[in-house]
């Protein structure tokens, strides 16, 4: 009997071992980005921007050109590149600390200017890299090293919904929130990424895909339970779906 490879490591990924903890869904998201760039045949003219977070080292993981950006500033770096290389594909890969906290201004203004870039936004409701501090997206009651009794609305506010907020920006073209908690959603997430990169390739403007992701280590639960926790706790507060799509005629 002969056989056909139906799934293998993407050519969009290098041979480096990913630096993520076992079972961290950052890895799944990396695969999707890599596969999408390969599928759309964009890899050779893509520049990716690593941000600061657990994914800081992913300049080694993607097999396209990469720049490592200062914490929160990836969309500015992407703007800098895209404006001088308008025919390239430029994406940023940013965590929720990076994008929603220190870098919210840069994300908003890239959208505001309608920069023709794609943001891959990984929301794991925590600062993974620095050991589990509270993020703007940390849920109420969630324990982190800087909300040790659980996030408390009175002193720490209510979790920020980034896609909802960014969808209000007139300059943004496409914003969707996805999850990678099972194969079906992984495939849906990939479709979203494809749409985003396709929009960029067609020069239709700014796109952002928000991924609900896990942090088994800092959440203190195993990888599978982490996925379940994301489904049970994060998705209700961060509903999946398309938040903005100017390509279907919406203003």
């Amino acid at each position: 009997m002969n056989s056909k490879v139906i799934y293998e490591k993407s050519k969009g990924l290098s041979d480096f071992h990913l630096s993520y903890c076992p079972g961290c869904t950052h890895g799944i998201i990396h695969k999707l980005v890599a596969e999408t760039l390969v599928d759309l045949d964009l890899l050779e003219r893509t520049v990716g921007i690593s941000s600061v977070g657990c994914s800081a080292l992913n300049y080694d993981f993607f097999s396209c050109d990469m720049q490592q950006a200062a914490h929160g500033r990836a969309p500015a770096v992407a703007t800098g590149i895209k404006r001088v290389r308008p025919d390239n594909i430029v994406f940023t890969y940013q965590g929720d600390g990076d994008l929603a906290s220190i870098g919210i201004a840069e994300a908003i203004h890239a959208a505001h200017r309608g920069e023709n870039i794609t943001i891959v936004f990984v929301n794991n409701a925590i600062y993974g890299m620095t050991g589990g501090q509270m993020a703007p997206t940390t849920l109420l009651g969630q324990k982190t090293t800087t909300s040790q009794d659980g996030r408390d609305a009175a002193s720490q506010g209510l979790p920020l919904r980034v896609s909802e907020m960014m969808a209000q920006i007139p300059g943004a073209t496409y914003i969707e929130r996805v999850s990678v908690h099972d194969p079906k959603h992984v495939n849906k997430a990939k479709k979203a990424l494809k749409k985003a990169f396709d929009i960029q390739n067609k020069k239709l403007g700014f796109s952002m895909i928000e991924f609900i992701s896990t942090c088994p280590v800092n959440w203190g639960i195993n990888p599978k339970d982490s996925v379940d926790w994301a489904v049970d706790n994060m998705i209700p507060y961060y509903p999946l779906g398309v938040y903005k799509d100017k390509t279907v005629g919406e203003k």
């Binding site: 630096s19 903890c21 076992p22 657990c54 800081a56 080292l57 890299m129 280590v217």
Partner: protein, 180 residues
């Protein structure tokens, strides 16, 4: 005069840091000078980790231990990294469950302790570190098991308190492993 300089090294997750901290806690309690210092490998996640502990009756100066009196080696990469630093006639304690088939220096005292195996026998792989610590205490005599257990009682509260008994056994088994 007490003046013990020890490096403890292994994978992240093997409890290497805690071993060192326990020694420093006891030292503090005994009014000795002590300094504990951690170091993590360049890997962000799941890489190697080590700590240095100095225990001394006089002031502790350099936090960096150039020539340790003892080293506790919990995994293969650490042996290569630290063996050469050990002082002549120093103590080289090896977790022989994981470190196999490597060469040791001849001018030092080598103690092989199958810490993982012993820990698994005790029912919890996690106490492999305590097995090694027991062995270390037996060899160096800096402190007694009891001093370590007392500190644990102070520091381990809540659910962790239940593990103290297991740790006591691990320390004991570690002692035995090098005594025999």
């Amino acid at each position: 005069m007490v003046n013990e300089k020890t490096i403890i090294a292994g994978f992240g997750g093997q409890g290497v840091m805690l071993m060192g901290q326990l020694l420093s806690y006891v030292a503090t309690k005994e009014d000795l000078n002590t300094l504990w210092f951690p170091s993590y490998g360049p890997e962000t996640r799941g890489g190697t980790a080590n700590c240095s502990v100095t225990i001394s009756e006089s002031n502790v100066n350099s936090p960096v231990i150039s020539t340790p009196d003892s080293i506790i080696i919990m995994n293969k990469p650490s042996l290569n990294k630290f063996q050469s630093k050990l002082k002549k006639d120093g103590h080289l304690l090896i977790n022989s469950s994981l470190v196999k088939g490597l060469d040791y220096r001849e001018d030092v005292n080598v103690y092989e302790v199958a810490a993982n195996d012993i820990a698994l026998e005790l029912g919890n792989l996690k106490v492999a570190n305590m097995v090694m610590l027991g062995a270390y205490l037996e060899v160096t005599k800096v402190f007694t098991n009891e001093q370590i257990i007392n500190i644990m009682k102070e520091k381990f509260t809540g659910s962790k308190a239940n593990l103290i008994e297991m740790n006591r056994k691990a320390l004991e088994e570690g002692k035995k492993a090098v005594r025999s």
